[in-house]
């Protein structure tokens, strides 16, 4: 069965064709990053405009790349939240219209749940129960997945998403936007020896807070600049990144232990961070935990994961009503 997935919740316009929820036939992603770069972050109204301009040609490209005729699509899946309302509305409305035109069911997908399914696409042997850590510019979620469609959100960020903190630190270090890759590169040349925060005020919980850490970097940079001293950018990047990864690592492996599972899956753009991958791999080996992470194009926002997740949702609960509304703050339940 062929599923068409549509994803427009942030700044990637993406459409994919997936077979039976596990085989990617096409995965077309148009990143708007160049349109937002000079503003230092995603501009919601601009993102919505770009989605509408791009979406139809991308649907066409996804079908062409998959070698699939429109009438072969049997299910249309689209993200309905969480995300930026303007973009969500474009993808959701288009997907509903396609389902009407093709007379096939439509299913709304939770974007955060979608990220988990990126791992099922990449690793056919993967089965729940598992712990999934999704970290990106938009989300930081620690989730226990007992079964397909059965989740417990263990922890979330109380302030900034991990990727957002990377962006802000990159900005103050003059590294540009998006911040993840340049901070990662610079950190490799530095020593992680600067103590930025004294204690983990959320220790013992599964929640995250990156705002204090980010502010510590910003304040330190400003203090040094005022005194006319050189800013040790590489050491700062390394220290910041070490702290972020340590927090993520501690929470994730504690969850694995508490929930007595043997599988840990990573997802989201930050999962591409080299230190994160290295340290998670080491820790997983040390503890005998099976670690999974998707390739980069499935880590970041894409529609293949939405199509795959939509397929499992549809199998479990059937189609969504055509009057399904967007849910910018949708939670995973």
């Amino acid at each position: 069965m062929l599923i068409l997935g549509v994803e427009t919740s942030c700044d990637e316009t993406a459409v994919a064709v997936v077979e039976d929820g596990c085989k990617i036939r096409s995965n077309v992603i148009l990143s708007q990053i160049d349109r937002h770069r000079k503003f230092g972050g995603v501009v919601p109204e601009l993102a919505a405009r770009c989605h509408l301009e791009a979406i139809t040609p991308i649907v066409e490209e996804a079908l062409r790349e998959a070698g699939v005729l429109p009438q072969e699509i049997k299910l249309v899946a689209a993200t309905y939240g969480p995300g930026l309302i303007g973009g969500l509305l474009v993808g959701l409305s288009l997907a509903k219209a396609l389902s009407l035109a093709w007379k096939v069911p439509f299913v709304g997908v939770n974007h955060v749940e979608g990220h988990i399914y990126a791992n099922f696409l990449a690793h056919p042997d993967l089965t729940p129960p598992l712990i999934c850590l999704t970290v990106s510019g938009g989300h930081t979620n620690l989730i226990y997945m007992a079964e397909h469609g059965d989740y417990e959100v263990l922890g979330e960020t109380r302030d900034d998403a991990a990727g957002e903190a990377f962006d802000k630190v990159a900005r103050v270090l003059g590294l540009g936007y998006p911040g993840g890759p340049p901070v990662d590169r610079l950190a490799r040349q530095g020593k992680a020896e600067i103590t930025l925060v004294q204690q983990d005020r959320l220790a013992g919980t599964y929640d995250f807070s990156f705002s204090g850490l980010k502010t510590a970097v910003v304040n330190l940079v400003h203090r040094l600049e005022q005194k006319g001293e050189t800013v040790p950018t590489a050491d700062l990047a390394a220290s910041f990144q070490r702290q972020v990864v340590s927090t993520l690592l501690e929470r994730a492996f504690r969850a694995v232990e508490d929930k007595k599972v043997t599988t840990l899956a990573l997802s989201g753009g930050v999962a591409a961070n080299s230190e994160l991958r290295e340290r998670f791999t080491q820790e997983a080996a040390r503890r005998g935990v099976k670690l999974y992470y998707p390739p980069l194009d499935l880590c970041t926002d894409n529609a293949a994961m939405i199509a795959a997740c939509g397929y499992f949702r549809w199998q479990k609960q059937g189609s969504s009503p055509l009057d399904l509304t967007v849910a910018p703050r949708l939670r995973l339940t």
Partner: protein, 234 residues
Amino acid sequence: MRVLGIDTATRTGALALLDGAQVIWAEQALIRPGGSEKLPALLAEAMEAAAVSPEELELIAVGVGPGSYTGVRVGLAIAKGLAFGLKVPLVGVSTLQALAANIKTDTLVCPLVKSRKGEVYAGLYQWQGAQLVELAPPAIWGQEELASKLKAQGERIVFLGEELDEYYTYLAHYLKEQARFGQGKENLVDAAAVARLGLAEWEKNKENQLYTVLPLYLRRTEAEIRWAERGCPG
């Protein structure tokens, strides 16, 4: 030719199905705030009630605004999805022109759609025989600026629009007997007019606008405006 008309630029979402000149059905529903995404369900219900199957549609006409950015995008996304999915052509129509088509009069017609910051989207239209001619294209106006410009023209004008109440007092006071105002349904966008204008456009140019039609924003995003003014974000 079976034409589907859609308009979501104002608070009232409008859908209509025409067979040539004949209106098969027309729907108007309050869709905002928050609810324009319910339009596909409304469309599905209406088509089922009229016993019309999606593949019987031959042309999609959609209002491109000006109006709510988000609203117009929802209408366009639905229209693009239908046109692509059904392999039928898509034509964009000015929402202001569709509003103007609501009344047949010899005088000037000035449809108004609320914009932001106290401003208004307006255009100027006039029937010349069977043709509704656009004398001034949609633009953003302050109401004082618009009223003084129209006063200088010295002709009678009929104002139309869903949120006419907001401008009524000022326009009536300033333009006195020069101004007339639309009544009741005349002030709401009728998707049948969108469909009719779309069909006329299609017959004239036979140009499928699936990949080219865009909302009539008339304004860049706030972020872009600030960037142009200051050369930096924020």
